[in-house]
C-alpha cells in the first residue's frame, strides 16, 4: 500500500473542452454503468484526469469524487498526470530490458525528477515504460514523440533530454 502521487502540473482546460465534456456526460448519465465511458471520454478530451475534470464527472454523474477517483486509480488506462509536450517512452520489453533499458529508465527518472507515468512540472517531458515496439535489433530503444533512439547507454540520457530543451 502506498499513496498515489498526484500531478502538480497546473490545469489548463479550456471552456470549449468543458462544454464538450458536459455534452458527453449529459447523455452518459442516463446509462447504467456510465462512469467508465464517461471517464474514457473525459480522458479523450483532456488527455488525463485531473481533479478539476473528475469533479465535473462526479457532479454530473451524481457519484462522490472518491468513487470516481477509486475507478480512475483502479484501471491502468486512466492517467492522473498529463502527457508532456515530449513523451518519452522507454521500451522495457525483454530484449531491451536484458540490454539494460531498466537502467536507462532509472536515469530518466532521476534526471527529470519524476516517476513513471508522471510529467515534469513545466509540462515539457512525460515518462512512460512501453512494451516491445518492434525494433529489438536496436535494443535498448526509446522514443521521444515520433523520434526513435537505439543502441543506447545511460550516458546518452542527458544528451537526449538536452536536445529537447
Amino acid at each position: 500500500m502506498s499513496k498515489i502521487k498526484v500531478s502538480n502540473v497546473p490545469f489548463t482546460g479550456t471552456p470549449a473542452q468543458e462544454q464538450k465534456l458536459r455534452e458527453a456526460l449529459a447523455e452518459l448519465k442516463e446509462i447504467p454503468g456510465g462512469l467508465m465511458p464517461a471517464l474514457q471520454k473525459a480522458q479523450e478530451i483532456y488527455g488525463y484526469l485531473p481533479i478539476e475534470v473528475q469533479k465535473i464527472v462526479a457532479d454530473v454523474m451524481d457519484v462522490s469524487l472518491e468513487e470516481v477517483f477509486g475507478v480512475v486509480t483502479f484501471y491502468a488506462q486512466f492517467s492522473l498526470n498529463p502527457k508532456g509536450r515530449y513523451k518519452i517512452g522507454v521500451c522495457l520489453g525483454t530484449a531491451c530490458y536484458v540490454k539494460g533499458s531498466g537502467d536507462i529508465f532509472e536515469a530518466f527518472k532521476q534526471q527529470l525528477g519524476i516517476d513513471a507515468g508522471q510529467c515534469t512540472e513545466d509540462g515539457k517531458f512525460s515518462l512512460d515504460a512501453t512494451r516491445c515496439i518492434g525494433c529489438c535489433g536496436l535494443a535498448p530503444v526509446l522514443t521521444v514523440n515520433e523520434d526513435v533512439y537505439g543502441k543506447l547507454t545511460t550516458d546518452d540520457v542527458a544528451g537526449i533530454i538536452a536536445k529537447y530543451h
Binding site: I4, F69, F74
Partner: protein, 575 residues
C-alpha cells in the same frame, strides 16, 4: 421454501437466503470478516468459504444463495486449511500491535486468529507503512491495521457520504479519500459509522481521555459530566451485560467514582431543547415562518446539511443540540448561581457519537465566551476510563444524578432513539396548542426502526404533517421529496445514524456475528422506551428544573436571553 443440509443437518429456509443464513438457522456458525449484515456482502475476504457438494471450488457462504437439495459442509479439512491460509495472508501485511490496540479483545481478526491457531505468518514480504490520518478532531485511521474488508466504505456509502473508498489496485490498494486528501479536507460528516463497522483497530475515535484526566487532576477545575440519553442503553455492553440493558444507575455511580464534581444529565438538555424547539416550531407554524422545520440535535446531520443541502439551512431549527445546551447552561446559569468563573469549569459530555467531538468546536457554541463543552468522550472512551480506574462496573450500586441539572423527564430519555425527539416535541407542542393535557402520551406512529416514518396530527384545528428519518440515505429521500414539492411536511426529525443515537458511531462495537442475530437499534431503543414508560414525569414542560431555569434566569422559552445562550447558527460548507 428451500430444503438443504448443512453438515448433514436438514434445514428449511426462504428462497434467496444465503448459505450463511441457512447455517445460522441450523445452529452452525460460519466465520466472516468482510460481511456485515445489511451493510456489506461482497464475498471478498474468503473467510466464510464452505464446501458445496458438486461445486468445483469453495464457495463464499455470505453471498452464495441456497438451492433445493444442496449439501453444504462448513468445517472440512479443506475448508479449515483455506481459512487458515486466508488469515495468514492477511497477517502478512498487518500491524500486529495487538498488545495495546484499542480493539484488542474486541477485534474480529484477532478472535479468528485465536480460533484458528494462527499467530505468525508463513509469508513475509512487502508491508505497508502508510502514516495515520489524524487530520480530524474525531477520527483516526491507521491503515497498517486495515484488512481491506470495505465495511467502512459500505457504511459510508450507506450514509450517502461516500468520502472513503478503495484507491489504487492490487497490493497498492488502500482505503482513502479522493486524490489522497486528508479526511479533514473532504465532506465527511463525522458520524463514525465507519468505526462501528470496522472489524479491526484500523478506525477509532480521536481520544480525549487525557484531557479529561488532566482536568480531573486539576484542583482548580470544577469538572462536570453528563451523558447523552443513548449512553445508558449501551454502556453495559462494554462490561458483558446483555444488549439493551439500561445501566443509568451504575453509570452515575461510576462517573462519581471517577472523580467528577457534578454528574448531570444531557436528558435535562433534551427537555430544554424541546422547550426551545417546540416554541420555535409553534412560532413558525402560527406566524408563517420557514417550514418544514427540521431538528438540529444531531451534529452529523447538521454537517451533512451544511455540505450537501446548504440551500436548506433555513429549515434547520436554530436550537443548539441538547449537549451544547447543557454546556451553555452550566457555564452561564450554573456558574452564576454558584459564583464560579466559567473558565474554571470543565464540561464533559459522554456521547454515543463522534460528530459531537466536532460539534463542540463549532463557531457560535460559546455562550459564556468560552466553549460550552470542553471535552467529548464516546461511550467506549467512558468504558475505557472506568476499566482503567479499576471500577468494578457490574458490582456498582445504583445512584441518581445530581440536582438540579440532572433532573429530566421521559421525553428527554427517548431522544436517543429515532422518532424520540419528534415524540417528545409533540407531547409538549400539542399540549400547549390544544391548551389541555394529552390523553395518550405515546405517539406510536413515529416509533420503530424504519428509515422513514410519517404521521399527521390534528393540532388545535390544524393538520400537522410530520416525518422522521434516521440514517442519511433516508434523510436524503425526505429532503429530496420536500425540495421536489412531493411532500408537504411541517416538522421533520432527522438523525444522522440509522436508528438514531442508540446506534451512533461512538457506541460499543458489536462484532458482525452478533449483529447478524440482534438488531442493535431496536434492542437499545427498547431500553429507553421502557425507562420513559416508567418515569413519573414524561413531558419536558413539566420538568421542574427546566421551569426554574426559565423562571429565575431565562425568562421564557424563545426569549432574547434564551436565544443568546441556547441557539446557534450554521455555515454553508459545500461538497
Amino acid at each position: 421454501m428451500v430444503n438443504l443440509k448443512i453438515n448433514n443437518i436438514p434445514v428449511e429456509v426462504e428462497e434467496g437466503a444465503t448459505i450463511l443464513e441457512a447455517a445460522r438457522k441450523a445452529g452452525v456458525r460460519i466465520p466472516t470478516l468482510c460481511y456485515l449484515k445489511d451493510i456489506n456482502a461482497i464475498g471478498a475476504c474468503r473467510m466464510c468459504v464452505v464446501e458445496v457438494k458438486g461445486a468445483r471450488s469453495l464457495c463464499a457462504a455470505c453471498v452464495y444463495p441456497v438451492n433445493e437439495g444442496m449439501e453444504v459442509f462448513t468445517s472440512t479439512p479443506k475448508v479449515l486449511e483455506s481459512r487458515r491460509t486466508t488469515l495468514e495472508l492477511i497477517l502478512s501485511d498487518h500491524n500486529k500491535s495487538c498488545l495495546s490496540c484499542v480493539r484488542s479483545g474486541n477485534c474480529e481478526l484477532q478472535s479468528l486468529c485465536n480460533e484458528y491457531g494462527v499467530d505468525q505468518s508463513r509469508f513475509t514480504g512487502a508491508t505497508n507503512n502508510e502514516p495515520k490520518d489524524e487530520s480530524t478532531c474525531y477520527l483516526v485511521r491507521d491503515n497498517t491495521k486495515c484488512i481491506l474488508c470495505r465495511r467502512c466504505v459500505a457504511a459510508c456509502r450507506n450514509q450517502q457520504v461516500a468520502v472513503i473508498g478503495p484507491n489504487a489496485r492490487g497490493f497498492d490498494t488502500h482505503i482513502g479519500c479522493a486524490f489522497e486528501m486528508n479526511l479533514s479536507d473532504v465532506p465527511c460528516v463525522a458520524c463514525g459509522q465507519c468505526i462501528v463497522s470496522c472489524p479491526t483497530g484500523a478506525l477509532k475515535e480521536k481520544e480525549e481521555i487525557p484531557a479529561v484526566e488532566a482536568a480531573l487532576a486539576d484542583p482548580n477545575k470544577v469538572v462536570v459530566v453528563a451523558p447523552a440519553p443513548a449512553v445508558r442503553a449501551a454502556l453495559g455492553e462494554e462490561f458483558g451485560l446483555p444488549i439493551g440493558t439500561n445501566v443509568e444507575g451504575k453509570m452515575v455511580t461510576a462517573m462519581r467514582r471517577l472523580g467528577f464534581d457534578k454528574v448531570f444529565d444531557v436528558d435535562f438538555g433534551a427537555d430544554l431543547t424541546i422547550m426551545e424547539e417546540g416554541t420555535e416550531f409553534i412560532e413558525r407554524l402560527t406566524h408563517g415562518g420557514k417550514l418544514p422545520m427540521i431538528t438540529s440535535c444531531s451534529p452529523g446531520w447538521i454537517k451533512y446539511c451544511e455540505h450537501y443541502y446548504p440551500d436548506m439551512l433555513d429549515n434547520l431549527s436554530s436550537c443548539k443540540s441538547p449537549m451544547q445546551m447543557y454546556g451553555a447552561v452550566i457555564k452561564t446559569y450554573f456558574a452564576e448561581k454558584n459564583g464560579l468563573d466559567p473558565r474554571n469549569i470543565f464540561v464533559v459530555g459522554v456521547m454515543p457519537c463522534t460528530a459531537k467531538k466536532f460539534e463542540k468546536g463549532r463557531d457560535d457554541e460559546n455562550a459564556a465566551g468560552v466553549p460550552d463543552v470542553d471535552a467529548v468522550l464516546t461511550t467506549r472512551e467512558l468504558a475505557r476510563m472506568i476499566k482503567n480506574h479499576g471500577i468494578m462496573f457490574t458490582e456498582l450500586p445504583d445512584s441518581e444524578f445530581d440536582a438540579p441539572l440532572g433532573m429530566s423527564t421521559g421525553a428527554g430519555v427517548i431522544f436517543g432513539a429515532t422518532g424520540g425527539v419528534m415524540e417528545a416535541a409533540l407531547r409538549t407542542v400539542v399540549e400547549i396548542l390544544e391548551k389541555k393535557p394529552l390523553k395518550k402520551l405515546d405517539f406510536d406512529d413515529v416509533r420503530g426502526i424504519e428509515g422513514v416514518k410519517e404521521a399527521s396530527y390534528m393540532v388545535a384545528g390544524k393538520k400537522v404533517n410530520v416525518a422522521v428519518a434516521s440514517g442519511l440515505s433516508n434523510a436524503k429521500k425526505v429532503l429530496d421529496a420536500v425540495k421536489n414539492g412531493e411532500k408537504d411536511y411541517h416538522f421533520i426529525e432527522i438523525m444522522c445514524c440509522p436508528g438514531g443515537c442508540v446506534n451512533g458511531g461512538g457506541q460499543p462495537i458489536q462484532p458482525a456475528s452478533v449483529r447478524q442475530d440482534i438488531d442493535l437499534r431496536a434492542a437499545r431503543a427498547k431500553a429507553l422506551y421502557s425507562q420513559d414508560a416508567e418515569m413519573p414525569m414524561r413531558k419536558s414542560h413539566e420538568n421542574p428544573a427546566v421551569k426554574e431555569l426559565y423562571d429565575t434566569y431565562l425568562e421564557k422559552p424563545g426569549s432574547h436571553k434564551a436565544h443568546r445562550i441556547l441557539h446557534t447558527s450554521y455555515v454553508r460548507r459545500g461538497k
